[in-house]
Amino acid sequence: MSAPAARAAALERYEAVIGIEVHCQVRTASKMFCACAVPPPDAAPNTHTCPVCLALPGTLPTINRAAVEHVLTTGLAIGASVPPATRWDRKNYFYPDLPKGYQISQYDLPLAANGSLTVETSEGPVTIGITRAHLEEDTAKLIHAAAPDGRRVSLVDFNRAGVPLMEIVTEPDVRSAEQARRYAEELRLLLRAIDVSDAEMENGQLRVEANVSLRPRGTGPFGTRVEVKNMNSIRAVERAIDFEIERQAAALDGGEPLRQETRGWDDAAGATYVMRVKESSDDYRYFPEPDLPPLVIDAAWLAALRAALPELPAARRARYRALGLPAYDAAVLVNDEGMRVAFEAILAAGPGLPPKEVANLVTGDYGRALNETAERTASGLAGRADAASLAHVLGEVVAGRLSRANAKEVVAEHVVGGRPAAAVIAERGFAQISDADAVGRIVDAVLAANPAAVADVRAGRSQALGFLVGQAMKASRGQANAAVVQAAVRERLGRGGDG
């Protein structure tokens, strides 16, 4: 059986029950409990430490306000409730990545609780409950290596120790790898939209873990839960969970007991492997952190953060749909900040333009130009573009005065050089030829020059039709109205709407 077929068969008998844990580095200048700068990904080892994040005796932590506000903002964006008072707890374990021997985290009073996120899937919208979002400190980074004498050692870099980390935990509401992937994508989009994190998975700013278990369909109790880690891309999340569903189904079918364990995802092998048997929550011996005062979050503080929230991705998609955009276009624009900025700016500069036309320009000709240059204007447009010029180009197209082929050239030239689109159009002599007689003369000349293609069309080979239309467009230097050219060619060769 193929992998998808095996999975489909497994999912007829078993239901997957999945919870997702995301760790996200919130964007701050300094660390969570000390004033060390948050190191850039390429910082030299152990260059961003101080007595506090090295856990030297006699030091005390102090709370970074911006980190707290990022978590509160996230809570507001997922509709979570915020406790009137919260505190910090110590999570105790011994490992060389943890200088204090405990991690300052939040146990039973997280900064946000009971939120949700709705994602679009191939089976329609799915709402995933979010149990909690809390704040904690990141650990040091370990590199496993060999010492010069051959001993196996770990190399410790404390740069990351104490960097603020938000943990976001869902309810076990996720039922498939696709839903898990969509949740990770939507959460990443949201975290970027509310500007609390860059959320790049490749450099560890967003780490996704999944708790996966299976239960026979129609039964209540959860099966043995396996935690899957090391999924370093959105695609890895989907592949790893699919793999784990199949692995667990095969084990259950074979009467093999599953262990509660942590497994890592090996992307190259396309498989998970055992990392360790999981310690229970009791083993972390959580207790309240006596070194930090409690946090009281009053209504005024929350109201100020709520007022600063931008339009959220879901609301934005709904607004674009209301403007008449198809769901696909709305999603493309909302997912790409560069395109979204251009869409909004062009609509503002040309309020009369049909939104669907603006979306087509932005995702088409403009999107291409956007990808070809890393340069951005102060307002976030590609190269040296300005919204008024882009709106002008589209206005000319919509009015029938500029061909789409010429519009593409004008956009490309305007983005690179920044000259006003009207000047480019005038200088290049672009004026769309829509007049049927004028187009007819061009088409007649092309037909006369290409007797073989004409014969092909007459013999029923309709690809030749496209060739002749292309030749006529070329002969007009792209200025002919493509629709009028098509009609003229068809009319002359006696072919109606087919081909």
Partner: protein, 102 residues
């Protein structure tokens, strides 16, 4: 009270990564249970009307503005390291996992 078993003591010692001999486990079982007995005396007090607290000083919302300041030079940071390789601190490889954190 005295409810800690030898196995409990061994488990806690393992979590603290302490290697204890049998006689040490036996001695600590007695000492820890003795400490718990003292708490049993406290537990007899009526505390229903007293809210739990983890704090002894009446402070709240002490927050630091998000401003970075210079860190230690790497040689100072690693000044007490028993072993270093380049600018990394070296520790013995720990078998069996990646810690519990994250």
């Amino acid at each position: 009270m005295g409810t800690l078993s030898r196995a409990d003591v061994a488990h806690v010692a393992h979590l603290a990564r302490l290697g204890l001999r049998e006689e040490e486990l036996a001695r600590l079982e007695g000492e820890l249970n003795h400490i718990l007995d003292q708490y049993a005396i406290l537990a007899r007090l009526a505390t229903d009307a007293i809210p739990p607290t983890a704090q002894t000083i009446a402070l709240e919302n002490i927050l630091r503005e998000d401003v970075a300041r210079p860190s230690l030079p790497v040689d100072v940071a690693l000044g007490n390291a028993p072993d270093r390789q380049g600018d990394h601190l070296v520790v013995p490889a720990i078998l069996g996992g990646d810690g519990g954190g994250g």
